[in-house]
Symmetry: C2
Subunit: 416 residues, 2 copies
């Protein structure tokens, strides 16, 4: 009777919370002129191999062979699908593309708090523009999304970095470019591992030491990030961002800025992450299409937990829930003989856009009124001996009127 | 660069069409007091075996073994997941339950027009109520959904049947109840197979003949459906429904009424189908929970094709699309020195809920105006030498005004 381990059943109250999140996501994306796309949950496993996703993800693939002997994978992330679609179809659209998607991805992960094997993610990507203005637009979108939930700079922080800064660092210390991936893997894990472990790995790099890394990480200024920070200042969003070179991201394909949004309550956990990946599309298309790109993904799980921890955010969510309950009107059917009239009224009101419920089986009037209260309907409409007039009761003010049923819609529109 | 065979890439214009459909689905579900839930895409393969889904679906499962040696399947339909969830959690909710879901299911099918290996389906189920009023509510919801797309009784028909009528028929002809499934399989295929094939299969049933079936199918009245048809008449929906005993549905779990909605244009193809399944939950829970249930599923693929074939429906879709384009305002930045002011204006307008676009790189003013036209923005706002005033141009009426930027939001609200 349970879902598979690592998977979620979203009962209606759980779904309502996720729907709140996806509604905000869609709305902020619209304000930034982003349009939604979708792609398959299943892809050829090859799409994630080679230099594409890379890293840990390859060990977490849900991969299998279908009846046609194709090696398939449930998508572990959306970016390779996006890159594949854009490489094939970009000529049909003017640049830059501003595309987003909301959907499931799948990873066979060790189970832990806020991590699921199927997770919902919002992905926003801006493609075909390599200037810092595109980076600012993407980070602005991310910040405005967080703000739309009632989260402020004391609740979340965007730790911002640039892989090019590390590239310069390695150049300066004569580490060959081919070892960049291996080196970034060390930085990526550094925060979560004991110092000894990091030192052990660094031993493979001549001329690098833990102290050298510490010193570089502590640099008060990151010159390469200055133009981006200036753009964010002009937008009034500077407070949300903290330059932090320790962020490098696990995925193989990033080429420039990388960033993660962290919750400042309930443990420093990542709510979102992304960066610039200027070569992925070129790589996927074997050089046929070259489009710079920058984007991020935000999951629902950590965000849902965070909203509960921030009073302003929890209050805003609660108020949204109250405005979005499914029943406006509960029809009370006085006696069975009135049922056909009640059905016609239900049909009409629903046609006019009202959410209408009624008892499917004969019930005492008192019990129908209790059901009306329970559904949190705003009005009860009684179809009974007054027909073709009906009695309307406002269930919060207790106000009652009797009016011809044809006037119901107008009256309700005036009262709501 | 292509998706796997049988899978779809939804580019933004394709997604917009699907979003139109899912928006209508959600709206009509709300009017009927249905609440949304969601469940995993992956389930234990066992959930679909035994008597649960049964039939053809089992030969179309995407099934594989994960690293934990579990036999998994991508869900081929939503009902078993729903039944599993309801069996586990029904005590937390008052009955009847009115639940719906919009999501993907997966079948390894032979490819043909309007059939995909991953398809989007809207599932609506009413659980915990066995009266005909529940059947009427579900069919009413289905019809109102079709109507919401601008489809009338000349565009779609609900062919309505009841497996109990066939049960009586078999009893009368002394066919044992255990052979019901096998027999219904013959009826299910009868419409699409040559008469000889059906006769061949019927040979295994003593006392049954093709003529006997034809005669029963031609019965002018189906008494068991009368109360349901009466309920639908009271709702004014009778025109959409045609009793037709040849509809039996392929799934093993149906126990009472079954129905399919067919498109009357472009070949008689099923848009939706469903029925009553009063024993599935009991069966899944090994007898622990018994809840009667009735529901239907509607896919997006045939519906999308049908909407193109019905002028009224196509017009309605077009008009929805025009109201839901992503850009309200295009910001024209007169010179680079005005860019920081423009960023502040963009941030403010987006915060106020407007969809705002602007060029990320320096462009001539003329080219920015062309881009504004191309995005179908309603207004262009020029940030330039008038600062802190801005020039606003209504791009359809060509009307222009100059006003202080703080007054922009109020002015735009008055004009839209």
């Amino acid at each position: 009777m349970k879902p598979l381990s690592g998977f979620r059943d979203l009962l209606p109250p759980d779904f309502a919370r996720r729907h709140y999140i996806t509604t905000q996501w869609r709305d902020v994306a619209r304000r930034y002129g982003f349009v939604e796309f979708d792609g398959p949950m299943l892809e050829s496993a090859e799409l994630y191999q080679k230099k594409n996703s890379g890293g840990e993800i390859l060990t977490q693939l849900y991969q299998f062979t279908d009846r046609g002997e194709r090696v398939l994978a449930l998508r572990p992330e959306m970016t390779p699908t996006l890159a594949r679609m854009v490489a094939a179809h970009h000529r049909s659209f003017s640049k830059p593309l501003r595309w987003f998607n909301i959907g499931s991805s799948f990873r066979y992960e060790r189970q832990q708090r806020g991590r699921w094997r199927e997770f919902t993610q919002w992905n926003c990507d801006l493609l075909g523009e390599q200037s810092v203005a595109a980076d600012a637009e993407i980070i602005g979108l991310l910040i405005d999304a967080l703000r739309s939930f009632g989260l402020g700079p004391n609740d979340v922080v965007i730790r911002l970095s640039d892989r090019l800064a590390w590239q310069e660092f390695l150049q300066k210390h004569h580490v060959p470019f081919e070892r960049m991936g291996e080196f970034l893997g060390i930085i990526d894990k550094m925060e979560r591992e004991p110092r000894e472990k990091t030192e052990e790995k660094l031993a493979a790099f001549d001329g690098l030491s833990f102290e050298l890394l510490q010193e570089f990480l502590a640099s008060p200024e990151v010159p390469i990030l200055a133009p981006l920070l200036e753009e964010l200042s002009a937008r009034g969003l500077r407070d949300y961002v903290r330059p932090d070179l320790s962020i490098v991201r696990g995925l193989a394909y990033y080429t420039g800025i990388v960033f993660e949004a962290f919750a400042l309550h309930g443990g420093l956990r990542a709510v979102a992450g992304g960066g610039r990946y200027d070569q992925l599309i070129e790589h996927l298309s074997d050089g046929a299409v070259s489009l710079p790109a920058v984007g991020f993904g935000m999951g629902d799980a950590v965000l849902l937990e965070l909203l509960q921890l921030v009073p302003q955010a929890a209050k805003q969510e609660q108020s949204w829930m109250e405005r979005h309950h499914p029943c406006d009107i509960y029809l009370v059917i006085a006696a069975q003989e009135h049922r056909p009239m009640a059905m016609a009224v239900a049909q009409q009101l629903r046609h006019e856009g009202w959410g209408v419920l009624f008892s499917l089986t004969p019930e005492r009037v008192g019990k129908q009124f209790s059901a009306a209260e329970q559904t949190k309907a705003r009005f009860a409409v009684v179809v009974g001996e007054e027909w073709p007039q009906v009695k309307v009761k406002n269930l919060s003010t207790r106000e009652e009127v009797i009016l011809p049923q044809e006037e119901l819609n107008n009256w309700l529109n005036l009262k709501t």
